[in-house]
């Protein structure tokens, strides 16, 4: 709704062109640790740790390279060593790594702990979720030849589930066609159909990903969206980031997804 009101307000404002620079004096800000850790069964443990910065600081990524990072599960504790690198597939940056593979175990609780030399401590815990399989995909086109992927899957109505649906073109990090999160709370049938706005042409190479999210991951993504909307929207509501880690900001969660790659037909 805020986006709708913003659209209306923007249309009026554009006609007035009433913008100018403003002087805002920010209070002294103590940087927090920012952690992103996604556990993918069968892949190594890895994560990124850096700091938040005062809003008007010059753009840079204040890396944290002196932290003691551990992940504990099933009575064992693995230490992730400092190793800065970029994943060639996802283009993601990591700076802590352990070559042990994340076990595919949906019952085990994983506990993250990060301590840095400044005395800051971050703790978090999570469990993996089973993958929800994509049943089938077809395409629907409008009269202009633009279409969307229609994706079908089975939802377990006995539990509250959270999903993220992504569609990209050419590669997983290619043109973003769709990206949204939703829950099954308002769904009345276990056979779920997901659509989108028409941006695909016949013959496009399309990658469809259905993530099964933890509630904490869903809340985190939602709060990110609200916080971004609130900046620049006079009708927006200031939203704090809902992290599932204590002592910092960020997310520690499993990543469970099913992915299909196909040519649009």
């Amino acid at each position: 709704m805020n986006k709708l009101i913003l659209l209306i307000a923007t249309i009026f404002l554009i006609s007035c062109n009433m913008e100018r620079d403003a002087d805002v004096v920010l209070p002294v800000y103590e940087p927090e640790l920012v952690v992103e850790c996604y556990l993918i069964p069968g892949e190594p443990f890895r994560l990124s740790v850096h700091e938040s910065v005062s809003y008007f600081e010059a753009p840079h990524l204040p890396e944290v390279n002196d932290a003691l990072v551990t992940i504990s599960y099933k009575g064992t504790t693995d230490t992730l060593e400092y190793l800065a690198f970029e994943d060639p597939v996802t283009r993601k940056y990591f700076n802590y790594f352990n070559s042990k593979l994340v076990p595919k175990d949906y019952e085990t609780e994983f506990i993250l702990e990060i301590k840095d030399k400044k005395g800051r401590v971050v703790r978090g815990k999570t469990k993996l979720l089973p993958i929800v399989k994509i049943h089938s995909i077809d395409f629907v086109y409008n009269s202009e030849g633009k279409g969307y992927a229609r994706t079908f899957f089975e939802d377990d109505l006995s539990t509250t589930d959270y999903y993220r649906y992504q569609v990209t073109r050419d590669t997983y990090i290619g043109d973003e066609m769709q990206d949204f999160i939703f829950t099954d709370e308002s769904l009345q049938t276990s056979s779920v159909e997901v659509g989108g706005s028409p941006r695909i042409f016949k013959g496009d190479y399309v990658i469809v990903t259905l993530h099964h999210l933890t509630k904490e991951h869903y809340d985190f993504l939602l709060s990110i969206s609200y916080a971004k909307d609130a900046n620049g929207n006079p009708f927006g509501q200031p939203a704090r980031i809902k992290s599932n880690i204590e002592g910092g900001v960020g997310i520690f969660t499993g990543l469970s997804y099913d992915r299909k790659e196909l040519y649009a037909f």
Binding site: I8, I11, M18, V24, V53, S54, P59, I224, N231, P234
Partner: protein, 770 residues
Amino acid sequence: MINKVTYHFLLLLAGLLPVFLAHAQSYHTVSGKITDAATNEPLTGAVIAAPDLKKMTSTDMNGTYSINLPEDSVTLIISYFGYLETQRKIFVNKNIQLNVALSMDVTEMEEVIIEGNTEKNEVTTTQMSTITLTPKEARLVPALLGEVDLIKVLQLKPGIQSGGEGSSGLYIRGGGPDQNLILLDNAPVYNASHLFGFFSIFNPDAVSNVRLYKGGFPAQFGGRLSSVVEIDSKDGNKEKMEVKGGIGLIATRLSVEGPVKKGKSSFIVSGRRTYFDLFTRRFNEWNKDNKDFQPIPDYFFHDFNAKFNTSLGEKDKLELSAYYGKDFFKYSTGLFNFNFNWKNVTASLQWTHIYNSRLISKSSFIYSQYDYEIKNSYANFLFTLGSGVRDFIIKSDFDYHPNNKHIVKLGIQATSHLFNVARFKASSQEHDVSFESGKTLNATDMAVYFSDDYSPHIRWKINYGVRLTGFINEQSFYHGIEPRMSARYLINDKISLKASYARMFQYIHLASNSGASLPTDIWYPSTATIKPQRSDQVATGIIINLKDDNYVLTNEIYYKWLKGVIDFKDGAEIFANQDLDKEFVFGKGWCYGNELYLEKKKGKLTGWIGYTLSWTNRQFNEINDGKVFPARYDRRHDISIVSSYKLSKRVNITTTWVYGTGNAVSLPVARFLLQDVSATTPNIVPIFTDRNSFRLPSYHRMDVGLVWDLNSKRGKSDLTFSIYNVYDRRNAYFIYYEEVMNMQGIPVRYKAKQVSLFPIIPSVTYNFKF
């Protein structure tokens, strides 16, 4: 503490009742109605004085009055600003009906009068924290785009703020726009704005007068925490046909009124419509082949008022009043079609019956409805969304004047509410995808009240009363006892001291996370999880008439406690959410301040200076880590200066200047980079800390208006020139942060930008009347 106050108040009430019942009745009642001799319109606030007996009263919103006088020969002086004072000598040996028609004082009217209250009445009455206004006064005040707006003139009074630039929302003594009971001919109005809050729905041609209570609420009103705004529409001229209208930059309006049966019954029909959509449509048509052109949205509103009233003999009067107003917004481009409409409908039927000179009853049947609907299509997807509220109200009020020391008011009211919440429907054109949701909630609220305006001594006057309220729906039942009390101590006939206490309950709530009055705000009833809101307000003040009543000086101090006030969880989803009760959080509030007001009422130069010093705080466990924070509209200093000068018989110039501390807002203090599950586009995520910890720059603005009366053989006409924001102050509407990119599109720094709404805007309106 409040409960103790309530307890002692009820004890006092119980103790006073026998005194009142046993009081000797050695006086007779003189009652009647004071009207305009030319139009037969009732005059509100006209003063009826018996100087020899040092007794005085004034007319109510219907122009009626009642005064108890000893059996004797009495001279009554009847006066009203801008009208010739008249005297009546009567012998009071029985109850007497005395109606008086006052004629306009032409010489007096050459001096411009912009005034809130009749100053003598304000000194003598127990009622405090009240503002009255007529369209005649409002027309002199310069208006945005030339559209006279009664609500915006009220915002120039102490203790009353707008939500933001150009907004017609009302924030009264620290209350939100959801805490105002706005009554149009007794019918509640649920969204009193056009054009996303920039204009109020009240057509000045159709309105007789406006009365706003910001504290010391009379017992006949309830249901909202912070204010009552009573708008009376005009009765219509009972003597002759009259046509009135105006043509402005963005709207035109027309009113027709006249007698149905001369002297007995009359009607008025008014309408207005904006017309900038006619220009924007043409402009869009011219540019339809330009691929870079973004179409201008199609917007207009229209509204209609109608009223019929008739006397059914000497003792009965029937009034039928109706309002219909609708806004239309449409935006289409390519595959995207967006239609957004919202409308208010009200109707009221009131029967007034005079049993005798001591007892009058008014019975009403009232209907009110507010709805909005959004229809949107994108490619082959369609969705509609709407919400609304509909009320049926039945009420009876009794005014009883048993003797010269008591004026008793009694009443009963029942309201049936129907709330439609988030009616949502989505489908594809092929109907292979379809989804529907929405909820309908019913509720009933009831109230009975009693109040007595008691004059135990020439210097003392006390108004005490109580309102008992109940609210029931399928899930829950709530009830409340609302004590009301106000007292006046007359130091002399120029100075009085006043104090008041009022408790109010609010059983219905406005779901709005915008801070502005938007048509998509949704009314939602109390449920098992949403408890009623409650306010307790105390106020004290002094009123002084100066320099032969040329000036009036008032000062009021108030403190208001709010309990159960609502806000929303961080990131609450209000749009298309039928279970809003899961999104609310509940907290407390404190509002306190001082309102100083000096008004010059007579002479070539008239006007006022108002200054409010105030604090408005809120506290919620779920917001701001449970710490107290200022409300968005917490305004430490608020100043308004209004002056009107009669340059000649035909030209009047008015200036207004307003100043206010900037709104309290939340801004991000920090940011971090989120890579997300894939690093396609890194997210810069803002971090918000304390709620409303920043201030927008101070707001100030000057407007100038000039009314030039034109010579006309067939009636009256004038040209009204307005310049809004004369010195082109760029007041901040909101602030946001943006990335500054280099030539390669890489961010190099971040900066804050402010957005303003209105630059200097001149306008002209032609008004006519014949």
